[in-house]
Symmetry: C2
Subunit: 320 residues, 2 copies
Amino acid sequence: MSHTIAVIEGDGIGQEVIPAAVDVLESLDLDLEFVEGDAGDAVKEATGEALPQETYDLAADADATLFGAAGETAADVILPLRDAVDSFVNIRPAKAYPGVDAVRPETDLVFLRENTEGVYSGHEDDLSEDLSTLTRVVTTSASEKLAEFACEYVDDGEGFSVVHKANVMRKTDGRFRDAVVRVADEHGVDTDEVLMDAFATRVCLDPEQFDTIVCPNLAGDVLSDLAAGLVGGLGLLPSANIGDDNALFEPVHGTAPDIAGQGVANPMATVLSAAMLLNHLGYSEESDRVETAVETVLAEGPRTADLGGDADTEAVTQAI
Amino acid sequence: MSHTIAVIEGDGIGQEVIPAAVDVLESLDLDLEFVEGDAGDAVKEATGEALPQETYDLAADADATLFGAAGETAADVILPLRDAVDSFVNIRPAKAYPGVDAVRPETDLVFLRENTEGVYSGHEDDLSEDLSTLTRVVTTSASEKLAEFACEYVDDGEGFSVVHKANVMRKTDGRFRDAVVRVADEHGVDTDEVLMDAFATRVCLDPEQFDTIVCPNLAGDVLSDLAAGLVGGLGLLPSANIGDDNALFEPVHGTAPDIAGQGVANPMATVLSAAMLLNHLGYSEESDRVETAVETVLAEGPRTADLGGDADTEAVTQAI
Ligand SMILES: CC(C)[C@H](C(=O)O)[C@@H](O)C(=O)O
Ligand SMILES: CC(C)[C@H](C(=O)O)[C@@H](O)C(=O)O
């Protein structure tokens, strides 16, 4: 079966790491067709729009999308793109790789972040000279959908942690927590509840006590970036935004303006995002091969400058 | 001048660490009058109310309040108490002490957390079977008031970081950021802006790049607890809720049900909170003496079990 992959490089090192990941995908000789779209600061400069309608449609119509990074316009690009692929969960693994400097080398977490609501609702108003409000939205349906996904995602017997702030956001996060725990109970999946602030302390002190974390949108944003800090930075972290019929894959890092254009960016986060894409499309064996290749190169080199090496993007990509 | 201090032990180890801190305050021979109030799980059990009106009034009428911890009812006690003292800023230092196991021993941060609004507005509604909303509130006036405080708080020339998520919460956090930066500019105080998620990564990787952090309510809650993880846990962290004519001081830790009632709780976070109280009332020399005493005991012992020692609360309190 042929799959169409939308490819959106965006700005900065997006233009280097995306071609690298596409090279890796092409080397696998699968029936993948790549179609390219533009988005980001440069497009906004040229056309007034950070995410042109064509690019939105490209992502919406493709079987999967691979996106690099956008600069100042990041929110204007990534939030609509998540919407274009109808993504209800953002999967964010945060794993410390052997041989990579990490604050907490034993970290191995996966965040399953609700990807449609919470404070990302987009409903904000300036009500007076002094006052603005934002409507934080939580639905049982979105919470249940996330929980159903989480129950399939975790291995049998493993369970997951539900992270929330229902002691303060009683109705909204209370609804989230109740829905997620109820669905997990129905599936016989164990859960433990952790308040968002307590999670932040505990994950620093002992990341091994956690495994899979299911949480609302902003909690997932902040806590997965916290976990990124524990594993040594955003440089190696992939992510997936999953919808029913579609999905979007992106490295967690940004455009890295300091090194952009020099061909020395580390392509690994994007290659690992491509591995998640392969897995999503059913190529699980190829996905494992790509991930193993990245791990082997991490162990044996070559390495880019962010990991203390002096290899360029091309050399690392070829090695993978 | 005589000062009235409301003393609220609450539950669990609150009943051990508060008397310890009061002992330390009494040893200074200042003109302080202590009045006691009840709050927490046990009071709720007995009376149906976690925070009786008398206790609320006691805190509202006192010059300052020292609060221990509450169990299940924590939010029902602490949020109204913050309101009773009209507190607009929550000061949360997170400093790693020499000789105490820390994930990041170089951490020395102070969070100035907005303490009245954001998602703590209390405005939540169940709008349908499926949907709940929360109204996140941000005002220019509260943001400016926090910023004025921050400008006085930081030493000249030092500046502070403004942490927010205005790329997503454009109107609310945009208002917060604009107000804080404008006030700082007017006072000639330097600021740098950091997105909340980026802060979470960066503070793990290199806490020394930050110093004083000014942020909205929930950001302050989560990020200060993250910093607590970096310094080795909540066990030593004091906090202050400052109002115009009143203030409330509390350790960041909770009721520690596992060790409550045994007389072995570490009183240091509460004693350091009492030091913040002294400073607030103008006894800055006594405040410094208490802080130095805690540091000396940390360096030379005795230590409670949480710090690897076997001393009890009483022994550590006497040593201080
Ligand atoms: C760019 C921004 C809107 C985005 C988010 O908040 O989701 C980013 O931080 C992320 O996590 O992908
Ligand atoms: C108990 C809870 C309501 C409180 C908060 O969220 O402010 C606590 O986490 C804190 O930080 O003091």
